[in-house]
Symmetry: C2
Subunit: 343 residues, 2 copies
DNA sequence: CTGAAAGCGCTTACAG
DNA sequence: CTGAAAGCGCTTACAG
């Protein structure tokens, strides 16, 4: 049973487009054209309309615009996650800030939708019927079919982070591979030779690509790439992974950790097992989240600009909505190594 | 210059209410009544309509509903913050989850709006013209006039956390006072007598009310309440505050910290200055965020249920929108002490 | 309990 | 460059 909450109605006050037109001495059509930034409007009419709008504090009714214009003037930010744990993640927060920044000044609303894979059908039905003009997708796991299914409905989509599913949707991601590679090169330059990694989950590109970068770095240095343990994005799993690694290879002198939050658990175990950081074991994280600078010791880490990621996703989506040609199908954003005490 | 991004249009496919009516053998009016859960519809008509809707996979056009019904079928979640730092906060994440959970199954969209105080005018103009039916406000600072101004516009509002501004808007908050009181009672029961506090910012009720609880607890035990330092919600400020306290009163044997994230800095300083926790100094935090269980040592803390806070705010707002009478103007949610190693 | 009709406030061909 | 008119897809008195 879908419980509908009734909402009491009473016509909201405030001017309509009609009144703006009257005050400006033009037709509703012209006011509409000015509002929508169309090209063929005389400067005189434009000024008169702007003046009237300001004077009346007019703000157009979005529902009417959407209905008449057959566009929603809204995009969805879809968080596809089992427990929607991402929400508290600095990654998500950064993306959200970026999306918002890019939307500022355009009259496009941001609808936030959380959807567990088992609810995807409802979500698809809803989105397919024109409630938004496009969708941004974050925290896709494994081969989640959501992006492709949305695309089939004809809804423009941009993913944040490279989706692993077969087929392709446009995405924006940090250059995780190069980030991992740079981390290892740095460790090698420090003279480290037993370089392990605590990798991210292998059902996400961020996990896989950072791992590939680590492998490539070891290959370049002709070092063996055998010390791999996996963790999800929690300190606890990082602690377990690090323990395993130390059991397997007590002589580890460096570790590249796929996320700062995982590194928290890694540092804890290293400390507990009597290894000094960086003297005995150098540690490099990934993200440059707030955690990195407050960790003990402060963490050398690969910085990714998540706010820029959010901005770029939004820019790419809006470009597609506007029918821009020549948009890059996908984009990779640069990362950079931030040196602190841990390596 | 407000850059408008044009969005290409082409009538979205999919059934309209007309087709549902035809298939069900009733009028559009009746279909509308069924969709809106109105009372006076025969069971027969209702069933026919439901069948037709399922069959056609009909999903009503929200814009048309909003325009005709003069309601937005949307509520705003407004984050009023300077740097929108809150977004990465577990507090915000929990509230968001709760809001979303409460909205599930009702056809009400959630619009996320971030607004810095200097942008409030734009936000007010936008909201005042009927784009949402109500607003949820979080992370209000000091005497931010936003909630009252929204109320003046006739927009139903519920704040998350007690607003400090004069006048009153409905709010839902955790019982911060009792939480602080319980924390101190626990410390007293442990035999501690020099009980300090690292309080939260005094421009937020969460800061003030937890501090009041601490004061009251000390009063009950006839202990002096002179050891107060203030911090904002960062580990760094917590570290500074704890250093000050130790300088002023080296004999401190307990400290109540207004938030787990602040406690991180407190623990760091205690460790650095050679105090064992809990042997020398017992520490109680607030929130029971993920940080509490992964801290060293794991943190005894006052748990608040932020997801419940989000749910309750939403329930209160929807109740008001539905015209329910007898709604409590404001609500205080219980907190509970979670015992771990630090106290 | 139900239907025909008006109307919500815009946008957009169309004609000029 | 501009305006009159139609129409977007619903909801809602009104009458029955």
């Amino acid at each position: 049973m879908s419980v509908m909450t009734e909402i009491d109605r009473q016509r909201r006050p405030g001017p309509r487009i009609e009144e703006v037109a009257r005050l400006a001495g033009v037709s509703k059509s012209t006011v509409s054209r000015v509002i929508n930034g169309e090209q063929y409007v005389s400067a005189k009419a434009r000024d008169a309309v702007h003046t009237a709008i300001t004077h009346l504090k007019y703000s157009p009714n979005q529902a009417a615009r959407s209905l008449a214009g057959n566009r929603a003037n809204a995009i969805a930010l879809i968080v596809s996650e089992q427990g929607s744990r991402v929400l508290g993640d600095p990654f998500f927060a950064g993306v959200l800030r970026g999306v918002h920044a890019e939307l500022t000044g355009r009259r496009i609303q941001l609808l936030l939708m959380l959807s567990r894979p088992e609810d995807h059908d409802d979500l698809l039905a809803y989105l397919a019927s024109g409630h938004v003009d496009g969708a941004l997708l974050v925290s896709l796991h494994g081969d989640d079919p959501l992006p492709l299914r949305l695309q089939e409905f004809g809804l423009p989509v941009v993913a944040g982070g490279r989706p692993l599913a077969a087929g392709s949707v446009p995405f924006v991601d940090s250059d995780n591979f190069t980030g991992g590679l740079d981390a290892v090169r740095h460790l090698v330059s420090l003279g480290r030779t037993r370089i392990a990694t605590v990798a991210g989950p292998r059902d996400m590109a961020a996990g896989l690509d950072r791992l590939s970068g680590w492998r490539r770095g070891l290959g370049e240095a002709k070092l063996s790439a055998d010390l791999v343990a996996e963790a999800d994005f929690t300190p606890e799993s990082g602690a377990i992974a690090m323990s395993e690694l130390l059991d397997r290879a007590p002589g580890i002198d460096a570790v590249f950790v796929a996320a700062d939050i995982i590194a928290l658990g890694v540092l804890k175990v290293l400390h507990a097992r009597g290894r000094r950081v960086p003297e005995d074991v150098a540690v490099v994280g990934f993200d440059d989240s707030l955690l990195a600078s407050t960790a003990t010791p402060p963490l050398t880490t690969v910085r990714q600009d998540v706010e820029q990621l959010g901005r770029t996703m939004t820019w790419r989506l809006l470009g597609e909505l506007a029918g821009d040609s020549g948009l890059p199908p996908s984009l990779l954003l640069p990362t950079s190594l931030v040196l602190r005490a841990s390596a």
